[in-house]
Amino acid sequence: MITVLLIFFPLVAAILLLAVQGETSKRIAFGLSLAELAIWFYTYIAFKTNPIDASLSLKKAWIGSIGASFAVSTDGISLMMTFLTALLVPFIILSSFKGKYSNVFYALILLMQTALMGVFTATDGLLFYIFWELALIPIWFICLIWGGEHRGMITFKFFVYTMAGSLIMLLGLLYLYFQTNGSMGRSFAWAELVQAGKALSETEQGYIFWALFLAFAIKMPIFPFHTWQPDTYVVAPTPGTMLLSGIMLKMGTYGLLRWLMPLVPAGVAMWGKTAMILSIIGIIYASCIAIVQKDFKRLIAYSSIAHVGLIAAGILSWNVEGISGAMMQMIAHGINVVGLFFIAEIIFNRTNTRQIAELGGLRQVAPQLALLFLIILLGSVALPLTNGFVGEFLLLNGIFKYNIGFAAVAGLTVILGAVYMLRSYQSVMLGDTNPRTENVLDLDLNEKIILIGLSILIIGMGVYPKPFMEISQPAIKTLLETVKN
């Protein structure tokens, strides 16, 4: 039941919010998202007391005739993902600038949260698909209504691209569904789909691998399916970009972990390496583009492609180290990328430019901004004792176990990440001021609260990652064993 509450509380909150007009809507939305975070903590405590507590999962017949049920469950992996969602939404709401957005905007964010919570907890294939598609709708409206220049064309491309991926995924899931043959007939249940997948021939599994992988690869996105992403991230209003990059792209990595790898093991054996090579190419490819990128927001978008490529490669390596690293990095990347986009928004708001070359010297006029930006940057380049390091270290270790050469190439992110982040930090923050930057104000209270909060998370998770690591360890083990047997 708690899981159901976790999913539908934001929906109720969104509906309530429609009744609120004006400035207060942001504050109320923020309060409601905090309540959702509290619900998550309640879930966490229940999980801590008993990881297989009955209240953590629910299964109700739904469309009985086709064997689809409303089945949700929270295990360690889901708990990490719901944590990410519950944690970031308050930050995202708080970071939206005053006066720019209406109550509908916040309602859409909360609606989005419902869909995300559903994606991360669904254990029924059809339900998963429905939440998956549901997540697309609010973000599409957010981009379309509050987006920047050329938003019509760009959001259209985004919508069609991801929709195409989803439809192919549906085909793959349906194919598996028609192979299920449990005691109760056909079923969309995760466990049944896993059994059905195993029984398929290698070639069939190979096709399904690509059907599912494509959907996840587009969502993350992975090279070469990424071209919708930079435009969309740039044109979306910053809270939308944060939703997309902080949480929504993890639908793809989570899908890979839960809905691809265990379902078609032979398909993975056949094509996993190819997928991994794509992911790793993406790391280098996106890093290189980030190095010469002139637009600050776009630079962060490309750095996100590089990071997510590493996460995907870690999951594909399919060992404890790689998956544990992916779990940590999904949270860490969410926190860091929200921080980076917020910094970009702050700077844009004050200087009216996103062009790196037009900035400079902000360190002199806004030392607090400079310091907090630096901490987030360090998390992003995975300096030890920041959250980024734990994840990246384990990811590379996992990839190394899979193939030494892959790890060496993927490891270039250690160097390239430093190159593009330090380069942009230098041209934006250091050096001398110019007429555009000389009168920039330092952080206000609201901004300080957000950035300090994120910084504490970055360092806290880097110094003492144990509580986070512990959540997902047993679930990862179970998942690995599911595939082995």
Binding site: I289, E321, G361, F393, L422
Partner: protein, 636 residues
């Protein structure tokens, strides 16, 4: 006592947090008190730890908390206190404290005084983690952490673009080494089953691996060594260190001379169990070390920036330390780290005192005759110069002598001659520096001459303490051969025996005396030559524009930076631009948009058929039906 070892890094961390958070609310004197006091407190604890290890050398592990655990992988936050780590603790906190004290005078007029102390404390914290970690991952934490502080402090004056570039270059070059280090850690985990020193250096584990898969040990040690070349500025990753002189001088003394750059030596000495099993890697270390030493010493001969000379000298001395490690003389390498920390910190601080007195001037062609107006700086600088040149009985002599003796014993006279040449070059450029700075006539402006003054006590006291240490510090490693005769024990070898393999001593007192005699004779000749050139004849190095031929090539550092720029930086930028402007926009996104356009084109094509003309539909239907019939006929 050893269980309280966590206090050592705690004090500087607290110092950093307090100064960092309080920032503008602290007066400069309180900042000094907290900043320097924290290091002094660490030094006191380090001393206690050290004495405990002197009487009880067995290693102690201090477990703090479990850090990263995933499956079988486990990295604990634990410290290892043994003779090797305590020696480093003493150097870091001892020399560190003196440099903090010095900074309170040197940086007094700087607006960022508190920020400076915060960074410096943070650096010491990470440096302590580096040498205290009981596994490779904690070592790596310190390793990258000091890299960060180095970045922050090189670019301390952040308005200056050149300084920022130097900082960025240092960080990125270090990261190249760090990647290799990371891969080395993964290899260790894979082949030895754990990344803590206890598991990784377990004798049975190592013996099995050496028998079963010796190339794995070579791979591990090579990766670690590449990591070391980054942090310790060896070929090919050495070019960041001379640029790093952009940072304030105390930073150069602490980070880029006495402590951080010796991290590579520490890492290899710590992993001596592994390196001793990898003869190929050892040879590579020897040759890279010697090559670096020779290359950079030759560059040092022609530099005219007081800090640049010392920077190249540091790289060169580090090269000698690596050469020692390369012949398995770990103790000798560590010994030179210790003495080098004394005299190089002294020389840098002395240089800082000179720069301070000269109002920021660093070009030795514009100095001269400073010995009258800066007597303390002068005399301490003389001691530093004598010590680094290897003149007995000053500190550098003992450690350098031991390195030369070890190389001679293992690799014969040819290789030793190279090391000897490096020593002679060192002696020459150091005396050149000394003479040009402190002797002859003053060559600066009238205004500078008017302002010339000895530095305040906060700066000269550290100079005097370091001068004292540079004078007597060598006795901890009295040569075996002679010492045996005189009844003086090689204390350091004995102390380190718990931590590193000690190579047996090969030389009799007679051979030892010969080696010393030859070295001293040659050094005397070099000093005489330098004196004649720069004092008696009063020669001043020519202006940059008048340099030509080989001198210009060497002065311009053999164009290594330019070559890297052409071979790596530029291509990386060009490839990146190519990807960004062509592959990304034209091919990949172009392809995606192409599919979209194709669909649009196809549907608009199909749309034209939908005319609503029933005759046409009927006609098409008839034709199609006929075609099907015909195909069916032929099918049979």
């Amino acid at each position: 006592m050893a269980q309280l070892a966590w206090l050592v890094p705690l004090f500087p961390l607290l110092g950093f947090v307090i100064i960092g958070l309080a920032n503008r609310n602290l007066s400069k004197s309180v900042t000094t008190l907290i900043g320097s006091g924290s290091i002094l407190a660490s030094f006191v604890v380090s001393l206690l730890l050290f004495f405990e290890k002197v009487s009880q050398p067995t290693p102690t592990t201090v477990h703090l908390f479990d850090w990263i655990t995933a499956g079988n992988f486990s990295a604990k936050f634990s410290f290892l206190i043994d003779p090797l780590s305590t020696i480093f603790l003493l150097v870091i906190t001892g020399v560190g404290f003196l440099i903090h004290l010095y900074s309170s005078g040197y940086m007094h007029e700087d607006d960022g005084f508190r920020r400076f102390f915060a960074y410096l404390n943070l650096f010491v914290f990470f440096m302590l983690l580096l040498v205290m970690g009981d596994n490779f991952v904690v070592m790596f934490v310190g390793w990258e952490g000091v890299g960060l502080c180095s970045y922050l402090l090189i670019g301390y004056w952040f308005e200056n673009t050149d300084y920022n570039n130097a900082a960025k270059k240092a960080f990125i070059m270090n990261r190249i080494g760090d990647l290799a280090f990371l891969i080395g850690i993964f290899l260790i985990y894979q082949h030895l089953g754990g990344i803590d020193f206890n598991t990784a250096f377990n004798i049975t584990n190592l013996a099995n691996l050496a028998k079963g898969n010796p190339s794995a040990i070579t791979a591990i040690t090579l990766c670690l060594f590449i990591g070391a070349t980054g942090k310790s500025a060896q070929v090919p990753l050495f070019t960041w260190l001379p640029d790093a002189m952009a940072g304030p001088t105390p930073v150069s003394a602490l980070i880029h001379a006495a402590t951080m750059v010796t991290a590579g030596i520490y890492m290899i000495a710590r992993s001596n169990a592994l390196f001793s099993l990898a003869p190929l890697t050892q040879d590579i270390i020897l040759y890279v070390g010697l090559g670096t030493a020779l290359l950079t010493a030759s560059i040092g001969l022609f530099q005219n920036d007081i800090k640049k000379v010392l920077a190249y000298s540091t790289v060169s001395q580090l090269g000698l330390m690596f050469a020692a490690l390369g012949v398995g003389a770990y103790s000798a390498g560590v010994f030179h780290v210790v003495t080098h920390a004394f005299f190089k910190a002294l020389l840098f601080l002395g240089a800082g005192s000179v720069i301070h007195g000269m109002g920021g001037e660093q070009d030795i062609r514009k100095m001269g005759g400073l010995r009258q107006s800066m007597p303390i700086t002068f005399w301490t600088f003389v001691i530093g110069t004598v010590a680094i040149s290897g003149i007995p009985p000053f500190a550098g002599f003992f450690s350098k002598d031991q390195i030369l003796a070890e190389i001679l014993a293992h690799k014969g006279i040819g290789i030793t001659a190279v090391a000897m040449i490096v020593s002679l070059m060192t002696c020459f450029y150091m005396f050149r520096l000394l003479f040009l700075t402190f002797f002859g006539n003053f060559r600066g402006t009238q205004e500078q001459k008017h302002h010339l003054h000895e530095s305040p006590l906060s700066m000269t006291i550290p100079l005097m303490v370091l001068a004292f240490l540079s004078t007597v510090g060598g006795f901890i490693g009295f040569p075996h051969g002679i010492g045996h005769e005189m009844g003086i024990h090689h204390w350091l070898d004995g102390f380190l025996a718990q931590s590193v393999v000690i190579t047996p001593n090969h030389f009799t007192a007679g051979q030892e005396w010969t080696l010393i005699g030859v070295a001293v004779g040659l050094l005397a000749g070099i000093i005489f030559w330098a004196m004649k050139t720069y004092v008696t004849d009063g020669k001043i190095p020519v202006k940059d524009s008048e340099m030509e031929g080989l001198q210009k090539v060497i002065y311009d550092k053999y164009y290594v930076d330019e070559t890297y720029n052409r071979l790596i930086t530029k291509p990386l930028n060009q490839i990146s631009s190519g990807i960004s402007n062509f592959i990304e926009t034209k091919i990949i996104d172009g392809g995606v948009n192409g599919i979209g356009h194709f669909t649009k084109w196809l549907s608009s094509g199909i749309r034209t058929i939908q005319t609503g003309n029933v005759d046409l539909y009927f006609f098409a239907m008839t034709i199609s039906a006929m075609l099907i019939l015909i195909i069916k006929l032929f099918d049979k």
